[in-house]
Symmetry: C2
Subunit: 326 residues, 2 copies
């Protein structure tokens, strides 16, 4: 900076500072004010709530917090498409549940197979290849698959107000992390491009990976058909501790799977921000909470209400939901 002369000397006019709104897709009101106020407090050098830059850690759930999770998790749609793509190499799937039900589109039978059945499908469709090849498969699928209702690529279904929040936090010295129950290898191929969140700031569920030197002498990382870590519910603070090693000062989620992450964030010293996205807009997106199969918001809702966490009402608090609305 060359402008060493202070405006206070009166020798130079104050530069015109643009009073741009950092969160233009958020309607003015209590929720937007709560965010702006929190950031102002933790960045006010000398203030009692000041937080040094390295400790400005922000953790965001992904499904239902940064992008759409209805009518099923997007990784669920990917998994089912993978079953269809891989079926010819697995003739036994025609008679084996829940693979057979996925192939015939019998979603009731799929659901009946329970978590154990679904984990088996995830393990079968997310393994048997290198991490690099899986990454390519995800990128190809993301470029071609479409959301059944919006008829758009899934990466179009990210929330514009949350993109603005991520950008605003980063501009204020925050390091933004994803802390998702989704697969780490499923998210990393596109989070940097879409959210500006680099691979090393993505925490998620993961499978066992094995290092192997191939016949050509080249080393590979192979995805094994075994889940290693589920970054959901009580797994989220565990994942945060393992990957980040510091407690966030801000966390945003939308479901009971985020409750422990929010509790963990809230329990730290100093200024804290706990946010929940409440899906209330059936017209522009979806409306669901306590009874939903995906992104159920029940216990976390009760705790948020009791403890005064910020509950964002999509319908009333968000001017825009998706970037394509512009």
């Amino acid at each position: 900076m060359l402008s060493a002369r202070s405006p206070a000397t009166g020798l130079l006019p104050l530069p015109a500072v643009a009073q741009t709104d950092p969160l233009p897709s958020w309607n003015d009101g209590a929720k937007k004010s709560a965010i702006l106020d929190f950031v102002k407090r933790v960045t006010a050098d000398g203030g009692s709530d000041f937080v040094p830059v390295p400790q400005r850690i922000a953790a965001f759930d992904n499904d239902g917090t940064l992008w759409c999770e209805q009518p099923i998790y997007i990784q669920g749609a990917f998994t089912f498409d993978r079953v269809k793509m891989m079926a010819s190499q697995h003739p036994d799937w025609k008679t084996r549940q829940p693979f057979a039900a996925i192939l015939t589109g019998d979603m009731k039978a799929v659901a009946a197979s329970g978590e154990k059945g679904l984990m088996e499908v995830v393990e079968a469709t997310h393994s048997g290849m290198t991490v690099a090849d899986f990454s390519k498969t995800v990128a190809e699928w993301m470029a071609t698959a479409q959301h059944p209702r919006f008829k758009r690529p899934y990466i179009d279904l990210i929330y514009q107000p949350m993109l603005e929040l991520l950008t605003y936090l980063r501009a204020n010295g925050f390091k933004t992390f994803i802390v998702s129950g989704g697969g780490i290898d499923f998210m990393r191929p596109w989070t940097e491009k879409v959210y500006g969140i680099p691979p090393e700031q993505v925490v998620g569920s993961s499978g066992v990976t094995k290092f192997q030197i191939a016949a050509d002498g080249k080393p590979h990382l192979l995805k094994e058909p075994k889940i290693d870590f589920i970054d959901d519910g009580p797994g989220k603070p565990v994942g945060i501790n393992r990957f980040i090693g510091r407690r966030p000062i801000l966390a945003f989620g939308n479901s009971d799977g985020d409750q422990q992450m929010l509790q963990w964030t809230a329990a730290g010293d100093g200024a804290r921000f706990m946010g929940i996205v409440h899906h209330t807009d059936a017209e522009r997106e979806y409306a669901y909470d306590r009874q939903s199969q995906f992104g159920k918001l029940d216990k976390a809702w009760d705790e948020a209400t009791k403890r005064g966490w910020t509950i964002v009402d999509m319908k009333t608090d968000w001017k825009t939901i998706f970037p394509f609305e512009h």
Copy 2:
């Protein structure tokens, strides 16, 4: 940048650029030149080896690469001290191996218990408390314990030339990571202060951690007596993939436990730098390689020689070893 006019116009003199040596503790020679040349190539915008900033990932082993690992790993010394500190609460340790051998200082019997015995000791001494309490225990120990030969706190036994290398890389847009077989919870309390490497850039071995709401309603992360992940040998590329999600373009190690990390780094596209610290200075530090119990350098040495990786000879390449020599 306001200086839009090129010096080539002849209208402005070239600004005086201080020609300070970024690696003053490295003797001039092939090794230092190899580092400087690599960094120059990957940062030369428009050059054929240019690497964009987000992909400038550098991975460093810790024990024997960034700090001393003799006569035993520093975390080993911590573990043995923990056994002594905890012994009064564990009367059975007096007769149970390898605990009894540690208490009487019978290192031969300790070694005879093998890896299984040592893992049992690590599990017993690194659990039964919250992550926060363990972190405090480590910080207290680091502030008081002394190296048996140098009679100084262990954090004094870091390598000055490597500190300069870390700083130099960061000044050139690199993100520096530790990728160590050591415990992640043992390293994180001090890596930021000592190496300038924040907790979220420390990859290491870890135990199982459990999220629990205590009787007072506060959430805690408890360290369980069970090892979860060993970030050593083939575990290093696995850890790099899990925590960082990108392949490093530079990696530095010193032992066979780093061989796969170096192979993984070498197998990427574009310019690469693989470095090995060879302990050759018995006078100023230690001299060991193929036969050493800690930090054995045998297979990785052969591969490094064959493939032309940079082997740093501590005795001839380093002007200074420890910061306290100044």
